[in-house]
């Protein structure tokens, strides 16, 4: 365990989640146009460990995909390519 950073504390986790939520709310307001949310993106990146930023980015993609499936349904004919 020597030399590695300590895990984020409860306060640091909550600050990270807050910044993430603000960034995501901005994206929601701007139809995912990230260029409209650069300041909040930087805040999110500064308050969360890099690995968490990557993890939450993937999570957002997944949540949006899931929402798309729920609202639009699954259309296998549109996915093309892979089977």
């Amino acid at each position: 365990a020597g030399g590695e950073m300590s895990a984020p504390t409860m306060e640091e986790r909550k600050a990270c989640w807050g910044a993430r939520d603000e960034f995501w709310q901005c994206l929601d307001r701007h139809a995912d146009n990230a260029s409209q949310c650069e300041k909040l993106r930087r805040s999110f990146e500064s308050l969360c460990p890099q690995q968490w930023v990557k993890y939450f980015d993937k999570r957002r993609d997944f949540l949006k995909y899931k929402k798309k499936l729920e609202t639009e349904g699954y259309h296998p004919s549109e996915t093309g390519g892979k089977s």
Partner: protein, 205 residues
């Protein structure tokens, strides 16, 4: 009056059948879990105070167990809050045996006793955390068929451990009685644990 009586009887019968259905579903699930007999073995780990703890130390106690890691982005704190809340709900009820909240790391490389101490103090005061060597931790996890896979480290040496997310209920005989996924609330877990405590019959001596 006769019609009301008949409706009352029909309603009562419907409620009874629904209860019966729930009882049978739970009994089936419990039989399946017992057949799997998860949670065998006798792990040998250390708690956040550095004390050695074996699985057999917990015989005679009810335990609510969660596997996770301290560098976990969101799932582990959420599940530990939920686990803590379930334990609190049950603590308020007189006449129930005590429930021991337990955390076992899936990241022994970083989660030493000190790291566990720092992390777990934000949750239930009696929450015990266990760590050990890579082999010991892996053995403890595999007894419960826990999936855990560390991702590649970044330049800072940080990594995420992908892992299965379940809260396990162990009975006083040390065997798995039930497990609860992400979707189960603290209230659901407390209700389920209470039911298990009230209907518990040891299988072995």
């Amino acid at each position: 009056l006769v019609v009301l009586g008949a409706l009352g009887a029909a309603g009562g019968a419907w409620l009874y059948l629904r209860e019966e259905k729930g009882r049978r579903a739970r009994a089936r699930r419990q039989a399946e879990l017992r057949a799997l007999a998860l949670g065998q073995g006798n792990f040998q780990l250390q708690d956040q105070a550095g004390r050695p703890r074996r699985k057999s130390d917990f015989r005679g106690q009810w335990v609510l167990l969660y596997f996770g890691f301290t560098h976990c982005p969101d799932v582990c704190p959420e599940e530990l809050e939920k686990l803590s809340r379930a334990v609190e709900l049950l603590e308020r009820e007189p006449g129930l045996p005590p429930l021991q909240p337990l955390f076992i790391t899936v990241d022994p490389q970083r989660d030493d006793a000190a790291a566990l101490g720092r992390y777990l103090r934000d949750f239930h005061p009696r929450l015990l955390g266990l760590t050990g060597s890579a082999e010991e931790v892996r053995a403890a996890g595999s007894a419960y068929r826990v999936y855990a896979s560390a991702g590649p480290p970044d330049e800072a040496g940080d990594y995420i451990v992908d892992h299965s997310v379940l809260i396990y209920l162990l009975g006083p005989d040390g065997l798995l009685l039930d497990c609860y996924g992400r979707a189960k609330s603290a209230e659901h877990i407390a209700r389920s644990v209470r039911r298990h405590m009230r209907t518990y019959q040891p299988l072995h001596d």
